[in-house]
Symmetry: C2
Subunit: 307 residues, 2 copies
């Protein structure tokens, strides 16, 4: 196999920007000015009754991904994490701004690989990268992504809408994301989130990033409810225990509550719309006074345990 | 003088968020959900013909501010820098997302001071902080701010609109920003930028962050023009040489071009609208073939020299 020849470091900000642009899809028609002026300029596509979504999310080397992870996978993960948040509101992602603080020793091949991953995710989910910044830092690699999105007002799903009696459901399967490397290659549930956003029976929704054990209590708190989980009903990835499924985190699946009376019809239509992604009832929403199931706790960003 | 008692570190993400919120102004009426869900949710206030502006900007300890700088000043600077970019398009700032990567040893008093500075700028310029993230990092403090804004389409000022014969002007005075500490306390020219945005005679505009010597060539390149500067016409801060005025950077003044025939009337009305901020013609836009004035170069983010 031919050894890849490392390209030298980009010589200027302009050269770096040109290199980065090569990896990214063309901005969509609503982008009047992307890189090259003080700000990006967007012609808002908001129709009446549509809402704007804003999200920012950061990755730190050694915290959110291990040293030595291929940069293209880091790029994919960096953009797909906030895409997952937009999806969890029932929305569609639109425009991204990407800030990278990297070592002064970073070479062109490293920049290209990182933006190849970002560009792949941008293409797949229809995101235009409209700006950002590259800075040199003596610290670990730091990546900060801001993403905008929109959602028809009637499709917006908050964490606060669950009511007692609703079923608690998750998409896909849980657990083992770090061990399997899935945290670097996951598919944010954009189509599924938009579909669920259009369902009146879905009362609350969020994505599972810190683990069900951390995230479900947040949804319950915002909805002022308690919850009960059926431990053997949890859809687990192969080789995962209940404990891992609840506390590993970084599943990027959707956690939602569904009005009990809407469930039979919703389930039937889901199976036609998304035959490859399971949607599993895992428990029930209880009145606020009741005792919630005790779940092992996942990831707290103030005390990161993952590496 | 009583010695300030250091408060301990915040114990959880929730405690930290509550502490931060205390320092920030209440979100404006168009913010439906700020912190507490997967994304911030905004009711777009865009009227017909208004454009959205997006900007992201990062500060690194030891690069954009020296170790030991009071955190409240760092907070002010962090938000005022992208505000200056929005102003340079003729726009108004709206919503901010703020990401902080800090040492695990940061105490409550440090968080409070940082967000006091951010909050002060947010109040002064009508910005709602609608989201963000706090992460622990072994590296230097890293702050990333994303800011949205809007501008009536007819008021949008790009870098690309200058034509030969236009006057080149700057607001305020240039030079010595680092030495005087002005880079931590500057006033972004929001009112002035919006006023200039409404002037048909202003053909191009940007803010001076890297120094006139770096920024004017960028404007000229985007406008496909050359330029001539009158060295003794430059408005300089006290004690600054021409060289410093051109290359120090971080002035956060507006650099603009004005159609020659609009200048007399614009100047007269500027002096009434902004009696405290000088607007000074410093040169002229030339056809693309001509030789531009040679100016000392300022700050390149790829090769930061400031500390």
């Amino acid at each position: 196999m031919k050894k890849a020849r490392k390209r030298p470091s980009p010589k200027s900000e302009t050269e770096l920007l040109e290199m980065i642009s090569l990896q990214l899809p063309k901005p969509s028609f609503d982008v009047l000015t992307a890189i090259g002026d003080d700000c990006a300029v967007i012609r808002p596509s908001f129709s009446k009754g549509s809402l704007e979504l804003l999200k920012t999310d950061a990755l730190v080397e050694g915290v959110h991904f291990a040293k030595g992870t291929p940069w293209s996978k880091v790029g994919w993960k960096a953009l797909c994490r906030p895409i997952s948040d937009i999806a969890a509101m029932g929305g569609a992602p639109l425009h991204a701004l990407i800030t990278v603080a990297s070592s002064p020793l970073w070479r062109s091949s490293e920049w290209s690989a990182l933006y190849r991953g970002i560009g792949k995710a941008a293409r797949e989910f229809g995101v235009s990268v409209v700006g950002g910044e590259t800075v040199r830092s003596p610290g670990p690699l730091f990546l900060s992504v801001t993403l905008t999105g929109n959602v028809p007002k009637k499709n917006l799903k908050l964490r606060s809408g669950a009511t007692p009696g609703d079923l608690i459901c998750v998409t896909g399967k849980l657990g083992g994301s770090f061990k399997s490397g899935r945290h670097l290659t996951f598919q944010p549930r954009v189509a599924e989130g938009r579909w669920l956003g259009g369902e009146h029976g879905v009362t609350a929704m969020m994505d599972i990033s810190d683990g069900l054990g951390s995230d479900l209590p947040k949804l319950a708190k915002e909805s002022d409810c308690s919850f009960r989980i059926a431990p053997d009903g949890l859809p687990l990835n192969q080789g995962c225990s209940f404990h891992q499924g609840v506390s590993d985190g970084e599943d990027y699946e959707l956690l939602l509550t569904v009005a009990a009376k809407s469930w039979p019809s919703l389930q039937r239509r889901w199976n036609i719309a998304s035959p490859e992604v399971p949607l599993t009832p895992i428990g029930v929403v209880l009145p606020p006074g009741e005792k919630s199931s005790l779940l092992p706790i996942g990831f707290d960003h103030m005390n990161p345990i993952a590496s």
